[in-house]
Amino acid sequence: MKHSEVAEVVQASRSAVTIFFIDDTEILPGQFLMVWAPGVGEIPISLSHLGKMKGITVKPYGKTSSSLCGLEEGDLLYYRGPYGRPFTLDSGRRLIIGGGTGLASLYSVINGESTVISSARSSDELLFRGKFKCRNNIEVTDDGSAGIRGFPVDALKTIDPDLYSVAYVCGPEMMMYSVYNYLRNFNLNLQFSMERMMKCGIGICDSCSMGGYQLCRDGPTFFKDEIPELVEFGKSRTTESGRRYSMK
């Protein structure tokens, strides 16, 4: 297991924090780490900040993420990786669509000409508010406390997707499923970062698989023409035990 000293912890929304640490290995946008809270647990987290100073953005959700959110400057961060297939960076205008902490894995892909559609349950849960490299940001909240009330698809209806060469998408699965079903009819390229439970991160346990592909290894990023092969996407998933349930 690698470890690095936490250099800084910065609030990224009301409850999410970005934990910065120095690690000069090359990590690419879309890749993730398996982050360990000793004695508590290990979870996959994608990098929100790349470069010499790396950052992961975490929201307290279960035991492990809550424990990580309690880290302070000078504490040690334990992890292995990076793992996963990175995003391919297309030139041209980028449409960035992030739901909840899903936006963290897209943050490093945002450039000056991008448009960011950021969504969350409410305004105080919107990630990285006012901290985007680009000027165009459409906010969407479930409760209407900021921006458009509704879901990212409602924001998409206010723009012309074909003004963009590619959309990068990450968020809760049903949100991504609706975005996919809307955007697949347009010409722009799509790259989705899929989300499933990951126990091993290295392609051995089968907990993250979709349609026979391992998200931790073949993904988590997938292109437009690969998504139809992920036959379980938006339809069914398996629990920690491997029990399948329908998502509809």
């Binding site: 360990w36 392609g203 051995i204 089968d206 026979g212």
Partner: protein, 300 residues
Amino acid sequence: MPDISVRIADIKFQNPFLLASGILDENGYTIRRILNEGAGGAVTKSIGAEERTGYIPPVVVPLDDGLLNAVGLPNPGIDGFANEMKISLEAGKPVIGSVFASNADEFIKLCRKMENYGAHAVELNLSCPHVKGFGSEVGSDPDLVEEIVNSLKSEIKIPVFAKLSPNVTDIIRIAEAAGKCDAFVLINTVRGMAIDIAARKPVLSNRVGGLSGHAVKPVGIRAVWDVFENFDKPIFGVGGIENVQDAVEYIMAGAGALQIGTAVYSHGRGIFSKISTELASYMEKEGFNSIEEMRGLAHR
């Protein structure tokens, strides 16, 4: 072209390389894909009577020459696995249902269900090293093993394979107890542990796990060798196989077919088709026409 197909307990495998139990075989779509991509057959994740979530991660520790794991036998329970079996069998290749239980009655119930689901054989996990009350705790008790295997053989029509643990003093004694099975599967993982010295804590949440991968190959070779010397029964060799030399080594020790687990992670799912092609060229070059011709060669 040499023939790389094998027949074990009357089941025909297009090539001798099966997916080992517990590696990418919990989700039916994954099993189906691995079979379609070139595995000769697949053994499912070990399934029990009740749903189990398994251990909290970390469940794996990647090492230079292998892997330490304690996943804790997560499984949906036998009833929850019916649909995954159905999807797996769509590939039209042999699927072997791995099961674990703590006594003969429970094993019978599980194996009957696997039989009804269409499994071509069952594999008894008598060897998982890191779950209390199951696996090697059952598999190191010769009387219990004998009772389980004998009663299954009278209750179940499909072949019964016994997967044994290397974590016993005398593997021959256990193999003897399982003597009525249709084939032996050797070996499961070797008990081990890892500590992170910066955190000053064991890495696996279960602390103890099982070592697999290239590092355990000599342990597997030795188990196959010993069992081949003492029994006239088919053997699946498993433990650290990642290239054609490893495969041939197991075959020469006495294995009639092979299973691959950890190398699916270190080499990707493509390993099955790659190693099959390599085996065919190796046999062609060395003048072997069938796997049977090579089997146990090192004993002569």
